[in-house]
């Protein structure tokens, strides 16, 4: 995978992953890997800085919660209203871009 592809769409991927329900870091990593068959993988400190940045921008909100297993709490992130709007806008832009590129490339034979 070209790392730039992940980097360029990281915010969109994270917002979309949190759309259905609140998740903590490890869950986000796992879900992204599962939903993309391992195509996207967060590593080398990509995930948490990105989450913190989105939180600072007001697109997601984090809250520490304890898991049933006990131990230290984990931080669950959920999409805010502003985040939902941002996701909608980014999704629209991305879909339009993808469609335009697809029109040029044509379908894979």
């Amino acid at each position: 995978m070209d790392a730039n592809l992940l980097k360029g769409n990281l915010d969109l991927i994270l917002l979309a992953t949190l759309e259905a329900e609140a998740k903590y870091g490890l869950e986000i990593t796992k879900e992204v890997q599962d939903r993309t068959d391992g195509y996207f993988q967060f590593k080398e400190g990509t995930l948490y800085p990105a989450l913190h940045r989105l939180e600072k921008q007001g697109f997601i909100a984090g809250e520490f919660q304890y898991l049933p297993r006990g131990g230290s709490p984990v931080k669950f992130y959920k999409l805010t209203d502003a985040g939902q709007k941002e996701l909608t806008a980014r999704r629209k832009t991305f879909n339009a871009f993808t469609k335009a590129v697809q029109n040029i490339l044509g379908s894979e034979s």
Partner: protein
């Protein structure tokens, strides 16, 4: 590495509750992962090792974390308009953090030096080639005709291009690039620099060199993830490749390298093929500075910032009176965050002075004037002021990512630039 060491390293440079929360969050996720792995049959030690490995190198996590948490505003819509007018007396201490960034595992690339001032000028091409190859970069060497308009050619100086013959060229393919993509850097053709009084001279040399300007400009164009860290023998990282600029035997300081980053930020090299030429540079500080500018940024000690502001004292520079009266001169200074989290820009900081003094070649008044007008216009165009109320200053965080559009222009919240008589 044990968990506590990892957490400390990953959050170093973050302060207060932000650090507490970051540690708590990382710890919670690591514990959750260990819990899962243990249920899959791993021992606790194995599970910890896997969990930390999956999370990534602590230094990489730290780099991302500090980028988010130590810069309250990291967008380009922040203006320091009127900042310089916020003048108040502050005490000054001459202590400056000495930052040693020699990383033994990173090879050093030898630079050619100006004998009189010991400033790095050009990187020895053979060193760079062998170190890049050792780091997994594919290097193709060839002889190419030097044409000023070519991609990647060297236009930093007024070179005698008309008589230039073919020169050694390196096409670098980094692991992060797609197939067929390369970064091209071209050697200065067998020339070496010597200092004769105030004037550099270029003489024949068996070795060939490339310039920092050319290398950085080409890497920026390729949009490779790139960072510059440290001051003495700085480390340049391009993706997963790292080289130390300078060696233990021939150490260098990074004034020029950071200057290039700062100047690239002002001049739109990223969107055009123009590579900075010497006569179009911003002037460094003047020789007899009168002020010290202090600002608390709470950033990691050693982090390098650049400050751009109108030139206050042009008397010591050899230019025509007409140019001296032009209001659009801009000067820059470099400073490192000290151990107290404070930046102190001192008019006449020695590294930059020596760097600028070494080139009395700034004699083309028209080009210089044009360049500085352009710089002022550029600041305004970026939103750092307007024609009616021009930007007064701009602070740029230079340590960190250098790839296009990611150099941070920041103003720490609730901070003011304080000036005091020297």
């Amino acid at each position: 590495m044990n968990l506590e060491t990892y957490l400390k390293q990953a959050t170093r440079g973050i302060w207060g509750k932000r650090r507490t929360d970051a540690i708590l969050e990382l710890r919670g996720n690591i514990e959750a992962r260990i819990w899962t792995l243990e249920h899959q049959g791993k021992t606790q030690a194995e599970a910890l090792e896997i969990a930390l490995s999956e999370l990534g190198d602590a230094r990489a996590v730290n780099a991302g974390m500090t980028q988010v948490h130590t810069m309250p505003n990291v967008t380009r819509n922040i203006l320091l308009a009127g900042l310089i007018s916020s003048v108040a007396a502050v005490g000054w201490t001459s202590s400056t953090a000495q930052i040693q960034t020699v990383v033994p595992s990173i090879p050093g690339v030898c630079c050619q030096m100006f004998p009189t001032i010991q400033q790095p000028q050009f990187v020895r091409m053979n060193d760079l080639k062998s170190e890049f190859e050792a780091a997994g970069v594919t290097v193709d060497e060839s002889m190419q005709r030097f044409e000023p308009a070519d991609e990647g050619t060297q236009t930093y100086y007024d070179w005698p291009l008309a008589n230039a013959s073919e020169t050694r060229t390196l096409d670098l393919h980094f692991p992060e690039m797609v197939d067929g993509e390369t970064v091209r850097v071209q050697a200065l053709s067998g020339l070496s620099v010597t200092a004769d009084g105030q004037n550099p001279k270029f003489v024949a040399d068996e070795d060939v060199f490339i310039s920092p300007e050319s290398l950085i400009a080409q890497l920026r164009k390729a949009k490779l993830p790139m960072t510059l860290e440290g001051w003495h023998n700085p480390t340049l990282r391009i993706g997963q490749t790292a080289v130390m600029i300078g060696t233990r035997e021939v150490p260098v300081t990074a004034a020029k390298w950071y200057s290039n980053v700062l100047l690239n930020e002002i001049y739109p090299t990223a969107t055009s093929d123009v590579i900075f030429t010497w006569n179009q540079q911003l002037v460094g500080v003047t020789t007899l500075g009168k002020h010290i500018y202090s600002m608390r940024v709470n950033d990691r000690p050693g982090t390098v910032y650049g400050l751009l502001m109108p030139l206050k004292d042009v008397q010591s520079i050899s230019i025509s009176p007409a140019v001296k009266q032009d209001p659009n001169w801009v000067e820059y200074q470099l400073a490192r965050v000290n151990g107290q989290g404070v930046l102190q820009f001192v008019d006449g900081s020695s590294e930059v002075i020596e760097f600028v003094k070494s080139f009395k070649g700034i004699t083309n008044d028209l080009e210089f004037l044009k360049a500085n007008r352009f710089a002022a216009d550029r600041l305004n165009a970026l939103g750092y002021g307007s024609a009616k109320r021009p930007a007064k200053a701009m602070l740029v965080r230079l340590t960190g990512r250098l790839d296009t559009n990611t150099t941070e222009i920041v103003v720490p919240a609730k901070s003011r630039l304080m000036a005091s008589p020297r």
